[in-house]
């Protein structure tokens, strides 16, 4: 009850996790860290966000290096040589729409009969292929992380709610810190979204923590949860088992 972490990944049936010498482009990890106010609003914090972002970038770099990949982070749309800011913006927006569709049809229950048994069957199409040709990268990784840290007031509220259980007004689930991260990996040779993962972590009781992105350990834990256990697609797995 206190805190739970959920993760669920989907992969293209033909997907094999990148290994060895590959070039990965990370389109600016989209990170926000905010404070959860007593009343339940999220107050974005610039300093926490910057801290979390640099922790995540460091953790991701270390993790990908251990797999043999070379990673390049793009902070601004103008930073990629040979590709215009508009082209990157187009791919980013397209990815946002496609990711939303993946979430609706894979996570939120509106399953599509036409995509049953096909693993992850989404693509960014020609735009992503062109991005790969122009930039020379093999994969693009889109990452989103949002973390809400319960403020002291929120924690106090949770404590009163729990204390109320002794007098008959029980409100233990005020809701504390929550974290939501998702990542999608796009193969820039085919344009297909080959792998997608969502990690959701939340504590119902404010004050219980589970990996704070503002610390290097917390960021490492998050990157590990999100990208560490990348599984191959169904067809690849079957082939491996048959061998």
């Amino acid at each position: 009850m206190s805190a739970c972490v959920q993760t669920r990944q989907f992969a293209d049936v033909q997907f094999t996790p990148p290994q060895g010498d590959y070039k990965l482009l990370v389109l600016r990890p989209d990170v926000t860290v905010g404070s959860l106010t007593t009343g339940g609003m999220v107050e974005p914090r610039a300093d926490w966000t910057d801290q979390a972002r640099s922790n995540i970038v460091a953790a991701l770099r270390a993790q990908q290096a251990s797999r043999g990949g070379r990673v390049q982070f793009i902070e601004r749309r103008t930073e990629l040589p040979g590709v215009t800011a508009d082209e990157i913006a187009d791919v980013e927006r397209l990815n946002y729409a496609v990711a939303e569709s993946i979430v609706i049809h894979k996570y939120l229950g509106d399953y599509l009969p036409t995509k049953r048994g096909k693993g992850l069957d989404w693509t960014l199409g020609e735009d992503a292929v062109r991005l790969g040709q122009k930039s020379g990268y093999d994969y693009a990784l889109f990452m989103h992380a949002e973390d809400q840290v319960a403020s002291t007031g929120r924690i106090v509220l949770g404590v009163i709610g729990l204390a109320g259980c002794f007098v008959g007004f029980c409100a233990p689930n005020v809701g504390g810190a929550t974290q939501l991260d998702y990542a999608s990996l796009v193969d820039l040779k085919t344009g297909e979204v080959v792998w997608f993962n969502v990690v959701q972590a939340g504590s119902q009781v404010p004050g219980i923590k589970f990996g704070d992105l503002r610390t290097p350990q917390g960021a490492e834990q998050m990157v590990e949860r999100l990208l560490g256990r990348m599984k191959p697609g169904a067809a690849v797995r079957r082939a491996q088992e048959a061998r």
């Binding site: 106010t37 009343g39 339940g40």
Partner: protein, 407 residues
Amino acid sequence: MCIRCDLSRRSLLIGGAAAAASLSTGVAEARIRPQDMVPLVGPGFKPTDKDEQGLWKEMERAEEEIAGSNLLVRDAALTNYLKNLIGKVGGPAAQDFRIYLARIPEFNAMMFPSGFAVVFTGLLLRMRNEAQLAGVIAHESGHFLRRHMIRSWRDMRRKTDIFAIGTMLAGVGGAAGGVYMGDYVRLAELGTLLSLFRYSREMEGEADAMGARLIEQAGYQPIEMSNIWRQLIGEQQASAAYRRKRRDRGYDLFATHPAPEDRMADLKADALEVTVPGKAYETGRERYLSAIGDYRQTLLDEQVKLNDPGASEYLIQTLALDGWNGLLRFYEGEVWRLRNRHGDDVRAAQSYAAAVVYPDAPADAWRWHGISLMKAGRAGEAKAAFARYLTMKPNAPDAAWVRQMMG
């Protein structure tokens, strides 16, 4: 399950911040006086508080998205004009503002917390002169100068905090004392909500008063700000009357903006207050018309295609108060033609015929004038109109068809 709601919470924040500052429609409490509206920020303002820094950080990304949006009008002359205008009526922060023109045929403009404004093209269509446009831009600047976004954010945070603690204490205290507090909690919830909306309307009042002060200082006719609301009320009434509905008066406890009638009345009082006797004020109509120039046709075109003939007709009539011309007559005809009720073809034909009398009639006015004449069986005159169309637009996509019509 919460991927969407978490995402929407973030967009709600951005949307909410924009909505809090947007100028659309909506009980004014006591009028706020322009002389009390002192700017709270100076030139080159940068936030120093944690919460405000966080808000600005979010806005950085929002601005990047907006600045790169394909909805923006990239016409350099037009965007420079807007930039100069906000530079004129932006008060102390005039040089810090950024302003973007979005191609959306609606009456709106908004200021974001970090000092960038978005103006919809629908606003440009409705403004009769530079003073009116300056009034709207000054209103938006007022939101920034009075630090409305962070003030409303803090107000919301404080009230939701008090409500959360209050609910919890009422519940726990009530349970300990054996009393059911649920109804009071409901009441407190409504109270919190209502006070949030009230706060938002108060800020709109502040921005209006600040705006009146700013345009007066820049030498614009202060009463023009009040006229904007008169025009908007008229437009909404015309639009509703056509649809046989009553205008949504936007006058209720949940409104984020004061009712247009109240704003119109308050702005009129503001204008009287700020006007310095003997000072010459301008409306800048000529300058405005030359700034929007050829773009006015696009603005009219987008409006008439909204399928809101009541509003479109009212707008054209309002713009024509400053004098009819070929462009306005042509689009008057377009409103009738697209409405297509019994007798509208005749009305449209009359408008096209009136349009081509003016030297500024667009090529399409000649085309439709030709088609109307053809329908009326006046082939000879139609031919001449078509010929005129083809000389004006030799590469028209329908040139071959028009030639065939000419026989």
